[in-house]
Symmetry: C2
Subunit: 326 residues, 2 copies
């Protein structure tokens, strides 16, 4: 039996898992990182986390065949370069080279959402489908695109950036500097901006101020869910608008590239999937042309916190991807 490691590197955490060649998860380990942005120090922490996950799995380090690393950045997967990760404070870093000084294994690095969707495609809720787009809705909206088993990355390794699809020319400003991007309306950042406008410019009141007094700076998806369940008018409107806009983005995917299945995941969907999914589906159907979305499956991600690390480990384990290993 062969064994593989998958590591999900986030802005504030490292999450490592160990799988066997059938995709079974043997162990998991998570550490917090508090915004570490020195590449060498981060590599040390990743190695620690990796070794702890091995211990918990009962697998010896020598028995690991290869390691897949997922990062919050576009990645030149051919050269192992982390292109731009604002959450890690890194730009154009040959991070695999640095990590290899700590862990001497064949390695592969890709964008985290690509790997999360690849996980759902290979071992999760999308495994029946061949032509899949995934949207992970959190503070922003990340995406990934898979066709016939291949992760489609594009010439500049930026494919999957559906959060920056412009759906409303002249719409709200996005953190990327453009306006009218999907995530500026339907990511948590867009939802909060909408609520702010209702409260500050239109004098509306929201229960969010009681439940999560710091909501202007940061708000958990669970606080939004609570307000939604309380039928707080402002929050209900904000969520409905976000779900409608994601539905329109899904209709665009159907019309433009004809995907077979769309996977919804991420913090907001995990917390409020039951609210979001039917609204997204209704809008996807009514905004796609010639009933194009009728045969399209809209499914919820099912791998939860494992998705990204599991996708990275699994991708790395496949014979057809061995040329990617560094």
């Amino acid at each position: 039996m062969k064994y593989y490691s998958g590591i999900d590197l986030g802005g504030t955490k490292i999450y490592a898992i160990v799988i066997d060649e059938t995709g079974k998860v043997l162990g998991r380990y998570k550490i917090k990182t508090e915004g570490e942005n020195d590449a060498d120090k981060l590599a040390v922490k990743i190695a620690d986390c990796y070794l702890e996950s091995l211990k918990l799995s009962g697998i010896a380090e020598k028995d690991i065949t290869a390691l897949g690393l997922a990062v919050p950045s576009s990645v030149n997967v051919d050269l192992g370069i982390l292109k731009y990760a604002p959450n890690l404070g890194m730009k154009n870093v040959e991070f695999l080279k640095i990590l290899k000084r700590k862990i001497n294994k064949p390695m592969f690095m890709d964008n985290d959402v690509n790997m999360g969707i690849f996980g759902e495609y290979s071992l999760g809720s999308a495994r029946k489908y061949k032509h899949v787009y995934g949207l992970f809705v959190g503070t922003g909206i990340g995406g990934g695109y898979i066709l016939d088993g291949k992760v489609i990355r594009g010439v500049s390794y930026t494919a999957g950036e559906i959060g920056h699809m412009i759906v409303k020319i002249g719409g709200p400003m996005c953190n990327c500097g453009k306006s009218g991007c999907l995530e500026a309306i339907a990511g948590k950042v867009g939802i909060i901006n909408y609520i702010k406008k209702q409260v500050e410019k239109k004098g509306k009141k929201t229960a969010l101020s009681d439940i999560s007094p710091d909501w202007r700076k940061t708000v958990g998806s669970s606080a939004l869910r609570k307000c939604y369940e309380m039928e707080d008018e402002v929050v209900v409107k904000a969520i409905n608008k976000a779900a409608k806009t994601i539905g329109i983005a899904c209709a665009n995917l159907v019309d433009v590239v004809g995907v077979e299945a769309i996977v919804l995941g991420g913090g907001l969907i995990e917390e409020m999937g039951e609210v979001f999914t039917p609204m997204v589906e209704e809008n996807m159907k009514s905004y796609s042309i010639a009933d194009g979305a009728n045969g399209v499956a809209l499914i919820k991600a099912e791998l939860g916190d494992d998705a990204v690390a599991l996708g990275a480990a699994w991708f790395t384990s496949l014979e057809e991807n061995k040329n990617y290993l560094k």
Copy 2:
């Protein structure tokens, strides 16, 4: 040597070509149809046009191996059903069955823009690329999507409908019933609606009224070009807005699915490509995320009137597509 027929069926014309197995065009024939919408009568006219094109090519009918038909409709290519063609007044018609009563050859039918892009991909300006999207800009905007030699059609055979990608939620009404579709802003129909608004609501004057007095009903791309060259303020603004919006749509393609090349074709591009292409490119680059469009080729279609019929004939000629033949 084997020979193939390709037929481009439009709302007001039938265009037939004959090619040999190398893709060389041996002859062409075109007839006008004046809005024929009876399927049997149309099949008779297609057969006439087909036979004339053979005569001009010097190829005997018995030497044609197969025929590819392209229609202005979404097409169930597996069942040979023309799904919905408003310009032909047809809906859910088993048109290949009808045509086979007149021409007894193995046949294939697909959407016209799919076949035009497949022509450019196989034998035209996009032949160096593997992952290609095409936009044909005329009255509306049609599209086609090709990845690794496969025409991507989607579960409901509607992929390629980039003209109905929503880029401006709440934007101008589209003929499809939705609002904010790309073609409602950047197709000729959108351009004319913009000019109308400037003239009728804002009291602006345009040279279009002199050059093409009937412009509210119908206007040639050449009249728009003339006004643009005269620096007619209203037309210049309308064209610039259209080109910018197509550039944003191209940026969306880059961000979302990471195409390698985008082919621009259709009447408006043939007439005004020199004006459109640089503006589209500039906007594609500035609106795509993380300089994602930097390696993306923006190219003009080069097969002109032949593209659709040639693509259909060539698609039909390929061994790998023989399962599609009816």
